[in-house]
């Protein structure tokens, strides 16, 4: 695996909620950290997100969900990625996700989820670590 390859991240806002302060801060911080960042913009359906992820050939899909719809949106994106043959893409994200739901999502194969008060350094470190170990050579 080439060490020079930059991590490609799709930052996505699924569902109807338009509060994107967090998504934009993450996108900005990831870009400053040297990742290649594509931000989908708002009001994305899981289908739109997966289509973009496949098209952009990303390593990571990072979703921001504050609306409480995470138990619908995260699993659906994971499912569609698998159907598209992109099962190695890391699905991570953050927002307002109760502890019990985090556990349930982890069991489904979703990566770490970051709640309020998280430092961007933490999420950047997580993605870098994951990439070093798991990323598929492209």
């Amino acid at each position: 695996m080439s060490e020079d390859r930059r991590v490609r991240v799709l930052v996505a806002k699924p569902g109807l909620d338009g509060h994107d302060r967090g998504a934009k801060v993450i996108a900005s911080a990831f870009r400053d950290a040297g990742f290649e960042v594509i931000y989908t913009g708002l009001h994305q359906t899981p289908e739109m997100i997966v289509s973009a992820a496949v098209q952009e050939d990303v390593d990571v899909v990072a979703m921001s969900v504050l609306s409480g719809a995470h138990m619908t949106l995260f699993p659906r994106v994971k499912e569609l990625l698998e159907q598209a043959g992109a099962e190695n893409v890391l699905v991570t994200g953050g927002g307002i996700i109760p502890k019990d739901d985090v556990k349930e999502l982890e069991d489904m194969g979703i990566g770490r989820l970051f709640g309020p008060g998280t430092s961007t350094k933490e999420s950047i470190a997580y993605v870098k670590e994951w990439f070093a170990i798991c990323a598929v050579s492209k």
């Binding site: 930052v11 569902g15 109807l16 909620d17 338009g18 509060h19 994107d20 302060r21 998504a23 934009k24 801060v25 996108a27 900005s28 911080a29 931000y39 989908t40 913009g41 708002l42 009001h43 359906t45 609306s67 409480g68 719809a69 138990m71 619908t72 949106l73 307002i96 109760p98 502890k99 709640g115 309020p116 008060g117 430092s119 961007t120 350094k121």
Partner: protein, 572 residues
């Protein structure tokens, strides 16, 4: 005209007074120099002390900071330029309205929460809709999956609106509705529900947020592109000035702009700039400014920096009054007077050690009262985790009641007036806002600013700057980057929305569609479609649709066919 001798000040008396004043100033300057040298030599906690917006704050403010001040700019409460308050008697006559934002699950569930809050002393209602409703989708739409009733109450028709206010007399209780993209539709549901209660629309009191400009800039709950959206808003200004004179057809908001990352100055400037834009749109329509301006209302955030927030509210009133009178030529003082609702800053709350939020909210509420707000929502401590539980909502309401009845703060009007610090801050924030107004004008105005992404970028950059300050420790967030003992686990009870809510809502819509007069529905929707293509005021046609139980999405879809939908310029 003859000048009587005693009217002419004795010249020597004047010279004496001036020279005494000069002596006072020079004495104060000498004392200050001494104080400054003591200050320089002492240890300081930080090199620089900044306000929340990053403006440097001096260690001390004195009479000298006010030497050039114009007393006319301060004035009296209820008098132009309203720095000291929009009303002459303020809280001596009437406390701010305690208006807690609430809504979840179905109309029936929320109706129960409204009755609980009213029983506990809340004095006005405020409706929080769920995301499908906010975006104009019925609960049974495919886009609504997983989101029905989760962040607010699901309202898909007039029937839901009737249930929402069942047993709550709309002629006696004022209602604020937070809705923007489909505001004109929900407004008509509300009017139709009031009609069902037998209430005359002329007595209805309340507010509908209906501020689409800040949606494009910050909250992003839009449907149509700017021009048709603004047309609908002006339609409401016009219709409301005739039919609901006690109702505010807009709440020009800074809260969302602030929460998205803007500084206090940006919040102030962008909100008022949006306000000016709405006024200009009304004037372009040919409306008489004094016929609609008195019903324009505002909504500001109250964040952590106590004095900055107070100064912001005072400066807002002064700027608005001056523009309305001097630039737009309004003659009615009610047109000059800025009235506002405030909400304590959601973004300042933490998930860690959530009980601390009770304290944050209390300080912020105090700033709102000292800033002269007309209406206030205090956040619940658990809102970083979920919608509020009953207990958390009760504590938030009690926070306002303790402030109102125990603190003594409402005993006198604008108690901080004359404070060297507060008056200097008020002047400074006004000056900084004026700089931003000039910048916006250079862009060509608010709408070009939105289309070019200028507002959105400024807000995103301020958000990023804040995040960096928190991560570097420059800005302290108790429980998050300092004093974190006790932050390890988040253990409080939170509200859980029953997954059955979505099913119940869908069943309701199915039943509604079976029981209504379908030919009337088609007729109304068709008439609305026609009307969208003309210049006519859309409220009457949408009201007909509402009365016939057309659903939210059915109405929105017809409008969207003509108006199109908004595509945002994406960047970060």
């Amino acid at each position: 005209m003859t000048i009587r001798e005693k009217d002419v000040p004795n010249i020597s008396e004047v010279v004496k007074a001036l020279s005494e004043r000069d002596q006072e100033i020079s004495d104060l300057k000498a004392k200050l120099l001494k104080w400054e040298s003591t200050y320089e030599r002492a240890n300081k906690r930080k090199a620089v002390f900044n306000s929340g917006s990053g403006t440097e704050i001096s260690p001390l403010y004195t009479d000298l900071d006010r030497a050039e001040a114009d007393p006319e700019l301060l004035g009296l409460p209820g008098n132009y330029p309203y720095t000291r308050g929009p009303y002459a008697t303020m809280y001596r006559s009437k406390l701010w309205t305690m208006r807690q934002f609430a809504g979840f699950a179905t109309a029936e569930d929320t109706n129960a929460r409204y009755k609980y809050l009213l029983d506990h002393g809340q004095t006005g209602l405020s409706v929080a809709f769920d995301f499908p409703t906010l975006m104009g989708f019925d609960s049974d739409h495919s886009r609504s999956l997983g989101e029905v009733g989760v962040c607010g109450v699901a309202v898909s028709s007039t029937l839901d609106m009737e249930e929402l206010f069942e047993g709550i007399p709309l002629d006696k209780v004022s209602v604020s509705m937070t809705i923007n993209g489909p505001a004109i539709i929900l407004f008509c549901f509300y009017i139709a529900a009031a009609e069902k209660q037998g209430v005359d629309t002329r007595v209805l009191r309340g507010t509908i947020q209906n501020d689409i400009l800040k949606e494009y800039q910050a909250q992003h709950a839009w449907i149509f592109p700017p021009n048709p959206a603004l047309r609908c808003i002006v339609d409401m200004f016009d219709w409301c000035s005739e039919n609901t004179p006690k109702y505010n057809p807009i709440s020009i908001s800074g809260y969302h702009i602030r929460e998205a990352g803007a500084t206090a100055v940006e919040e102030l400037a962008f909100t008022l700039a949006n306000g000016f834009e709405y006024v200009e749109k009304g004037l372009k329509r040919g409306l008489d400014i004094d016929s609609f301006a008195p019903q324009l209302s505002f909504f500001f955030d109250v964040h952590n920096d106590f004095f900055e927030e107070i100064a912001k509210l005072r400066a807002a009133r002064r700027i608005w009054a001056r523009r309305m009178r001097k630039v737009y030529g309004a003659k009615n003082p009610a047109s000059w007077r800025l009235r506002t609702h405030c909400q304590t800053a959601g973004v300042s709350l933490t998930a860690q050690q959530a009980e601390n939020n009770i304290v944050r909210v209390a300080y912020q509420a105090m700033a709102a009262a000292l800033g002269g707000t007309q209406s206030l929502h205090t956040n619940s401590m658990d809102e970083t985790l979920a919608l509020p539980t009953e207990k958390a909502a009760r504590i938030a309401l009690r926070t306002q009641q303790i402030l109102a009845y125990e603190s003594g703060i409402p005993n006198t009007i604008d108690p901080l007036a004359g404070s060297f610090y507060v008056e200097t801050l008020t002047d400074n924030i006004e000056r900084e806002a004026e700089i931003l107004f000039d910048e916006i004008e250079t862009l060509g105005g608010v709408v070009p600013g939105i289309e070019s992404g200028w507002f959105q970028q400024k807000i995103a950059h301020s958000a990023m700057r804040q995040q960096k300050k928190i991560e570097s420790g420059e800005r302290t967030v108790v429980g998050v980057n300092q004093f974190t003992e006790g932050s390890e686990s988040i253990e409080i009870d939170t509200l859980k929305i029953d997954k059955e809510v979505e099913k119940r809502q869908i069943a309701k819509i199915v039943a509604l569609k079976k029981s209504r007069d379908e030919s009337k529905v088609s007729e109304c929707l068709s008439a609305l479609h026609q009307a969208c293509r003309t210049d006519e005021n859309l409220v009457p046609k949408i009201l007909e649709c509402a009365r016939s139980y057309c659903t939210l999405f059915e109405i929105r879809d017809v409008m969207q066919e003509v108006f199109g939908s908004y595509k945002e310029p994406v960047f970060f």
